[in-house]
Amino acid sequence: MIENIGQIIDEYSKHLLRIAYFYTKNRHAAEDIVQDVYIKFMQTDYSESGQLRAYLTKMTVNKSKDYLKSWAYKKIQFETKWWMKATDHDHVIQQEERSSIGAAILKLPLKYREPIILYYYEEMSVLQVAAILQINENTVKTRLRRGREQLRPVLEGEWEVLRHE
């Protein structure tokens, strides 16, 4: 039984919302996902063993991927796409103002974006990323490399980091 759900929500919501946002690029969808994650979590008989953050993160990743495959996502995309255009456009500008590099990461296809989120944002090891994505380590390394290559035009001149990659 989870005794202190309010405390857990306070502690982990920001992190989980960011993870869901990196996948969906939509705040409302991220809220939906995190809400569903907590609900599912509350229905489990989870016993704390120091892995709560990793446990909730994995649930959020899985839920976000489910969402991206869902008809609801396609339908919302379909029905709002052009009508919401101005808002989306503003949103992209805001993103780019906040971080052009972050915005460039979010524009990557999920295949390359996902390892970057887990490896760099979540600071997992290649082995951990491979386990959560159920792909082998070499594939993770390849996708990370290709993701960085795709970001290179945006990053060039901005970060020293790539010069050492």
């Binding site: 039984m1 990196f22 509350m42 495959k69 008809w71 009508w83 255009k85 590099i101 760099y120 970060w159």
Partner: protein
């Protein structure tokens, strides 16, 4: 902190509002307004889609409308794909899937309309053409859409010949479909009328051109994800004017006790009663992917909805399977103890796809009880919006408490 991590945190921006929204939704202070009231995305999808073609202001006078007879349209598909790629860069697979869905809908609307006997005249076409031209003139998207990535693939002649006639047909038939909706259903709102036409157009194509559409999807490597939809279940509490009134998470007995403020206080709306699969008052049903628009119909405020699938979970004739049970004083303490361990969650946050198993009465209060496919219980006190959600172990305890009464 590594630079990628910092960039990602920056791009996500301030999420404190979302944090508060989630917390409030879960801890009951203030429910999030989920996609229940969907006014904003019921804006006519097709019309909106058409506004994008703002770089073509003038439509030629002579057009070949035979394009509309084909179940697929390569040019339309490629055109929308190019727009998707230009605007969203979400990956070619997503662009193609989205373009495919839009193409099928645009082609399907006229075909569905014709199948139910709707016809259009040259005057209707002219009005649709005028309407499109006006929208394209008013649009402020010209700069974006004149970009080389789209216009290089689609010279004006190709657009005029192969796409514009389809759009005119779709707009003209869509207008007629909307008129018919208002004629057939006195309780109808504009957003729903339009979306219903779009939905029926798509469904018609899937039913009548499945082979061609499957072939098209194979040829273009289009993958449409399975329909993993959200749904709402509840009771049909009235049937009038070819429509039924649905109220979420409520039995007929409970509905009869509440005030008329149903559209304000509850998830409730009128839906079209399909003559091929009609429902009757007292049926407990599940509606898939429900969207609701709310506004005044005449003098009354009401909700009108559209669903993408209906399943009768418990027909009226079997409504007595929802047992009404009175807890005795001996078990009240145990009930209260287990109930006290439940987590309270706003009912909008939970998807229930089963009819209630029973309604509990204790000391003048009643509680509706559901059990999900995993055996977990949800209990909703009458008149409240907060569902008590139980874990596996507390669900078992609560169920064993009820069973002696259910079996009596």
């Amino acid at each position: 902190m590594n630079e990628f991590r910092k960039a990602l945190i920056d791009v996500a921006g301030d999420l404190s509002e979302s944090e508060t929204a989630v917390k409030n939704a879960l801890l009951l202070k203030k429910p999030r307004n989920k996609k229940v009231k969907i006014g904003y995305y019921l804006v006519p999808a097709v019309i909106v889609t058409l506004i994008i073609f703002s770089w073509q202001i003038f439509i030629p006078k002579m057009m070949d409308f035979s394009q509309a007879e084909q179940p697929t349209n390569e040019d339309l598909f490629e055109f929308i794909t190019a727009l998707e790629e230009m605007e969203y860069k979400g990956g070619i697979e997503t662009s193609r899937a989205n373009a495919y869905l839009q193409m099928v809908e645009i082609i399907g609307i006229p075909k569905y309309a014709k199948s139910i006997g709707i016809t259009i005249t040259d005057e209707d076409r002219q009005q649709a053409k005028n309407s499109l031209e006006q929208k394209w003139r008013e649009s402020d998207l010209t700069g974006v859409l004149a970009s080389a990535s789209v216009s290089n693939h689609f010279p004006k002649e190709k657009f005029d010949e192969n796409i514009v006639p389809l759009l005119i047909e779709t707009v003209a038939y869509n207008k007629k479909l909307e008129e018919k909706m208002f004629q057939d259903y006195s309780k109808m709102l504009p957003g729903i009328a339009n979306s219903y036409g779009n939905f029926m157009g798509f469904s018609y194509m899937e039913t009548h051109y499945k082979t061609q559409l499957d072939q098209f999807k194979d040829q273009h490597n289009i993958i449409i994800s399975s329909n993993k939809s959200s749904s709402n279940s509840g009771t049909v509490v009235a049937v009038e004017d070819n429509m039924f009134l649905f109220v979420k998470n409520m039995t007929t007995n409970e509905y009869n006790q509440i005030s008329p403020r149903i559209f304000v206080d509850r998830f409730a709306a009128w839906f079209i009663n399909d003559p091929k699969n009609p429902v009757q008052v007292g049926d407990y049903v599940n509606l898939k992917e429900t969207v609701i628009s709310e506004d005044r119909i005449g003098n009354e405020f009401a909700g009108v909805g559209l669903h993408y699938g209906l399943e009768i979970l418990l027909p009226k004739e079997r409504a007595d399977e929802i047992k009404e049970i009175e807890l005795t004083d001996q078990v009240l303490e145990e009930f209260n103890e287990i109930y006290g361990k439940a987590v309270l969650i706003n009912e909008e946050a939970i998807e229930i796809t089963e009819p209630p198993i029973c309604v509990i009465h204790k000391k003048g209060e009643s509680y509706t009880v559901w059990q999900n496919e995993k055996g977990l219980l949800y209990i909703l006190p009458f008149g409240k919006r907060e569902l008590a959600s139980f874990t596996e172990s507390t669900s078992k305890k609560m169920l064993s408490l009820f069973k002696q009464f259910i079996n009596e």
